[in-house]
């Protein structure tokens, strides 16, 4: 427990020092962009990894968070029909950001209510359909979203710093730290959640739904709670995207973004805490590595091939595979005698 906390802190501090030690703006922006996808992957892992429900509409929550946050910070007016215009003045950016999270969570609740009536392939198809409908709305409700013309000049997030007053987080380093802080927060929330009563309930229903019900776990309610949280974190990632990239178009809803998140989670190891981070770093940075070398189409083909290979030969993902190696070594060094200690650590 203490060891794990210490290593976690060391990693976070090391990551936080990166802009100081290696102040390459290109590197920082690439890592920050990967970081946003990692947060999205962490949120997907909550559903896919811990409750075992493969949601393939996750980009929708990312997009809803991005659009809501951007629109609230820019202000908008639309005609809702029956000559009842809705005029929203621009809101402070952090309020808009929170609004994005709330809106994504609401949709998470709604989708959970609908989709968890069915399981397996049906669930997957419902989630995909949901994301597609959202994309069509973003494309076609031009009065609200500007459609394919994109929402531009989205204000950045800002922070009050002692001495400097309010600072707009626009520099590469500031963006990096912002994403890192959000990522650590998301990680800690998910880690605390899955190591709790409700987290164990989710894992139980992933492992054996019938048995989970028999010990009093309200399966549907539990799934909806996870759906809401997962959507909320994805919405936060979307909000971060909107206020750091500062331009969004309906492509944020594309299926391929959901797939990117899925690849990150599956490659890293679904149902592990470190999985989406490891998978996210690999698949978030790989495009930059491949960029100069191959055409983007080839890059995607490599993605697809890697995903198939991982599924065929390492279906549990990278983290569990390495975990097994480490564990084997540990056991050969020292067999742990105490049962309770091991389980609670």
């Amino acid at each position: 427990m203490i060891m794990r906390r210490a290593s976690f802190l060391i990693i976070v501090v090391a990551l936080a020092l990166l802009p100081v030690l290696w102040p390459d703006p290109y590197l920082l922006s690439v890592v920050a962009a990967a970081g946003i996808m990692i947060i999205a992957a962490i949120s997907l892992n909550l559903l896919l990894g811990f409750t075992g429900q493969l949601s393939l509409g996750h980009a929708a929550f990312f997009g809803i968070g991005a659009y809501t946050s951007a629109l609230l910070s820019l202000g908008f007016d639309v005609d809702l029909g029956f000559s009842s215009p809705l005029v929203v003045e621009p809101k402070p950016v952090w309020v808009a950001f929170a609004g994005g999270i709330v809106m994504a969570s609401l949709f998470g609740w709604l989708l959970g209510k609908v989709a968890f009536r069915v399981r397996g392939a049906y669930f997957v198809i419902v989630t995909i359909s949901f994301a597609q409908v959202m994309r069509m709305v973003a494309l076609n409700w031009v009065d609200l979203t500007e459609g394919p013309m994109a929402l531009v000049s989205i204000p950045p997030l800002s922070l009050w710093v002692p001495g400097d007053g309010v600072v707009r987080l626009v520099s590469k380093a500031a963006t990096y730290w912002l994403v890192l802080a959000a990522g650590v927060l998301a990680y800690v929330i998910v880690a605390n959640l899955v190591r709790s009563r409700i987290g164990r309930a989710a894992i139980a229903l992933r492992e054996n739904e019938v048995l989970a019900k028999s010990i009093g776990i309200p399966v549907t309610r539990c799934l909806i709670v996870f759906s809401v949280l997962s959507a909320g974190i994805a919405g936060a990632a979307g909000g971060l995207y909107a206020h750091t990239v500062r331009i969004i178009d309906p492509d944020v809803f594309l299926f391929i973004y959901t797939i990117t998140m899925v690849i990150m989670v599956v490659a890293g190891g679904k149902g592990t805490l470190a999985g989406p981070v490891v998978g996210g770093l690999i698949f978030g940075l790989l495009p930059e590595v491949l960029r100069g070398m191959v055409a983007p189409e080839v890059q995607w083909m490599i993605y697809g091939a890697l995903m198939i290979l991982i599924l065929l030969f390492m279906p549990k993902g990278i983290v569990p595979a390495f975990g097994r190696v480490l564990k084997r070594r540990k056991i050969s060094v020292r067999r742990r005698p105490s049962a309770s200690q091991g389980a609670s650590s």
Binding site: I125, S129, V133, N140, V262, M301, Y303
Partner: protein
């Protein structure tokens, strides 16, 4: 009224091809239980085969159709043989993700090979529409309708009446029993996946002269095929055919009388509504409990 009939005719033509697409996926998804996101890519593959043979190699369109079906069969069988055989018994999510991998590879391969610009496949039929009672009928579309209906019937007969169809149904109902009575189960799996893929490819080739050919055409096709299968009820061949016509007509009339912009959203709304109201599909008998 003419307007209405025109939409009805257009919807029916589209419906026949949707039905083909849906039946192909019913074989793979409904019966084999493989959630095949690459189905639409095989449809795009068929369209590109038509483009390559007809536009580039100046081949006869009808020969190209047959070749598209054949190549689709081979490609589908190869996918099953190489990727799915080893994880047939693994969980459904893994298979689903593997098929997504296939989808990504195929789509980008098309993009790489042909570029993002839409391609046109010339039709062997006259361009002028025939006008019957104020309704415009393009000869190409009529051919598509005719060919699709012939294929639908042929396919139905294969599944319901032939020894092969019997072996298929036996395999997917009770694999062990089928093996005991001497069915080569592995071959049935490969063949079923190949046949389903072949149907998708020929649908793509049939529609290539009607629409244009683009690398992303498979995306919507996959999702619509799922919508059709769900409408029809899982594993129900007749249901899938009806589901194809139903979805096409809903889209056609939805686009005409509600909103063109949301034409493609209608299919997904239909999925959502069907899932909420009647998860066993519209055309399936109520599922038996137990």
């Amino acid at each position: 009224m003419d307007q209405f009939l025109q939409h009805l005719v257009n919807g029916t033509v589209l419906g026949a091809t949707y039905a083909l697409l849906g039946i192909g996926l019913t074989l793979i998804f409904g019966i084999m239980k493989v959630v095949n996101f690459a189905h639409g890519e095989l449809y795009a593959f068929g369209a590109y085969v038509a483009y390559a043979l007809v536009s580039l190699l100046q081949m006869d369109y009808f020969v190209a159709l047959v070749l598209a079906a054949g190549l689709g069969l081979l490609l589908g069988a190869a996918i099953e043989f190489l990727l799915l055989r080893r994880c047939r018994l693994e969980n459904i999510d893994e298979v689903m993700l593997i098929m997504i991998g296939v989808m990504i590879i195929m789509q980008n391969a098309e993009l790489l090979a042909w570029g993002g610009v839409a391609k046109v496949v010339p039709t062997p039929f006259p361009q002028e529409s025939i006008i019957v009672g104020g309704i415009y009928l393009s000869p190409t579309r009529l051919f598509v309708l005719g060919a699709a209906i012939v294929l639908l019937l042929a396919f139905y007969l294969v599944i319901e009446r032939s020894r092969l169809g019997l072996a298929m149904r036996a395999t997917f109902q009770d694999e062990d029993a089928a093996r005991i009575v001497g069915v080569n189960v592995s071959r049935i799996y490969t063949l079923t996946f190949g046949l389903g893929s072949s149907l998708a490819a020929i649908t793509g080739a049939l529609l290539a002269p009607v629409f244009v050919v683009t690398p992303t055409m498979g995306d919507l096709a996959s999702l619509k095929a799922f919508a059709i299968v769900i409408l029809g009820g899982l594993g129900n061949i007749r249901g899938a055919a009806l589901g194809g016509f139903a979805l096409a007509l809903i889209e056609e009339f939805g686009a005409a009388y509600i909103s063109t912009a949301y034409r493609d959203a209608i299919g997904f709304l239909v999925i959502l509504v069907v899932m909420i109201a009647r998860p066993q599909g519209l055309f399936a008998a109520k599922e038996r409990v137990g």
